[in-house]
Amino acid sequence: MTLGSGGSSVVVPRNFRLLEELERGEKGIGDGTVSYGMDDGDDIYMRSWTGTVIGPHNTVHEGRIYQLKLFCDKDYPEKPPSVRFHSRINITCVNHETGVVEPKKFALLANWQREYTMEDILTQLKKEMATPHNRKLVQPPEGTYF
């Protein structure tokens, strides 16, 4: 009986999935320019997460460290987490008042699939910072928060 016989129909339960992501975040398995971890290690539902994105080179964001809050509700990963910038940032997909990443303007959240991870979100946000319409935008002073 091969492993493949079950097909890919198995659905990884939420907590297994989040534990996987937690481990990846702690071990820094990803591409190294984003980082994430749990806010409260005691929350057994693993809902509240913190992420950072390091501003990409050759943009106004270079050298900046952006902090974000991610909230994985009980329906994660069926539904995307809510993502909010903690550090002030001026890019198109982020609400200027609240720092919330607006799903309508951010394709990854709009077309969410359960295979996507928080790491994907952070990486995609970093790419977003490097897009032509975002890389030159005037930024609020570093160290200010929403």
């Binding site: 016989s5 890919s8 198995v10 190294g32």
Partner: protein
Amino acid sequence: MGGAGDSSESKVSNEQGQGQGEEGSVVINIRCSNGTKFTVRTSLESTVGVFKSVLAQNCDVPADQQRLIYKGRILKDDQTLHSYGMQADHTIHVVRGFAPASSTPAPAATATATAAAGGNPDTTTGVTRGVGSNEGGAFGLGGAGLGASLFSGLGSLGGGASGSFGAGFSELEQVQQQLTQNPNMMREIMNTPAMQSLMNNPELIRSLMMSNPQMREIMDRNPELAHVLNDPSILRQTLEAARNPELMREMMRHTDRAMSNIESTPEGFNMLRRMYENVQEPFLNATTMGGNAGNDSGSNPFAALLGNQGGNQVRDASNNPSTTGSEATGGLAAPNTNPLPNPWNNAAGGTQTNSTTRPNPAGNVRASGLGGLGLGGPGLPGMESLFNGMPDSNQMNQLLQNPAVSQMMQTVLSNPEYMNQMLNFNPQLRSMVDSNPQLREMMQNPELLRQLTSPETMQQMLALQQSLLPQLRQQSTQEAAQPGAPTGTPNNTGLEMLMNMFGDLGAGSLSAPNQPNVPPEELYATQLSQLQEMGFFDTQENIRALRATAGNVHAAVERLLGNLGQ
């Protein structure tokens, strides 16, 4: 670049600020924003500020410009690493803060490179040395492996070979172990042209073996083994088998399957345990009181059996001068160095008792009890079918009296390892024995085996059974104890117990293969609900996983998750 970064690790212990807290130190991975990676050793109790100064030694970012990120958080200088939940092997990202954008990447990279290459020759050589020794190890393994696989192959055929080789060359044994654990390596080795030509040359193999004094000694002592090892075709066959890991794996799978089958039946484990409790312990008790068994025969049916057997043996003293019943049973307790039990014993001994038992199970319970004891064979379907083929005790008697047969049995039995080998090929038997260490020990005792299977003993037991039969039948019809039947006076409760026991055993072993008749939802109800709680909602998939893992939730989860990854 990456290599240079790696080699710059572990310099931290020289760092003056770190000197005091070294005992609780852990290794932390560092990733710089320019892509460099390295590891540092630090105490989790040290503050981020101190840690930054340590890092400054390893990369060119000054401590005051470092921004450390861990788990999505920016670390503050006055906190300890521990307060952020840092653990060994976790990764911290280092970003240069407040630095002019253009100057960041280049100097950092070059400086780290020079620091690693120039300033730290020790670690670099350490790394190369490590690689070198690895290669040496691999080479050594390959070289030894050539020989080892040869020998292990022979061992698996010839029985005695592998054990003795292991004794002679402990490192060889290790290699062998590694090889058996890694079928791919084995296959690769066996498929190398050198190996192929070697295998096609049995002469060479034989001379190889003969050049080993231990091996030669074994062959001298065991003419049968020598014969086997001298037979080129057998040698070739063995090597063929060793070369084909599929074949070996198949065999092992069968074994595992059979074991899990037995254990996964609701009653399977209990059955094994009952067998232990009902058969083993009384038997052991019986052996301990073997000397004065005569009086106790009524209370312990096995004691009676052994007592009888002992008596028979004594009467046969002219033929078996040194063996009495008590001696034989005493041998049970003796430590045994043989690794595995022997199925032939089962076949041989089981034949002797069960063949007569079959036609009249009720009357012969005691006899089959002995058969089961000595041989561990009651309830084995294969055995039963074998015995069903010989329903007539006379026929059996003749067979046993045939000198060729007894000689064959004895040669087989005189070589315990050969028998062990046979046992390995019978998964059911093996699983039975595996779950029953004492049974195994018993079966490994060559002295006992020989005695049990000596033609004289067998004849005696046959005679005993035959004389017992009518008496027992009488007994049961009259429902009264027969005063004049000294051999047939076990109390009836004992008899019933035995009957129940073997009834159970038979039923249990029969139910094992029939297991799939129980709906898996029912069989794995608890496991299924556990999986549900964990969040695996696909019942069919869960059942499939539980089936494959014989109801082991843990393994099933692994399997379900692994499934997804691939």
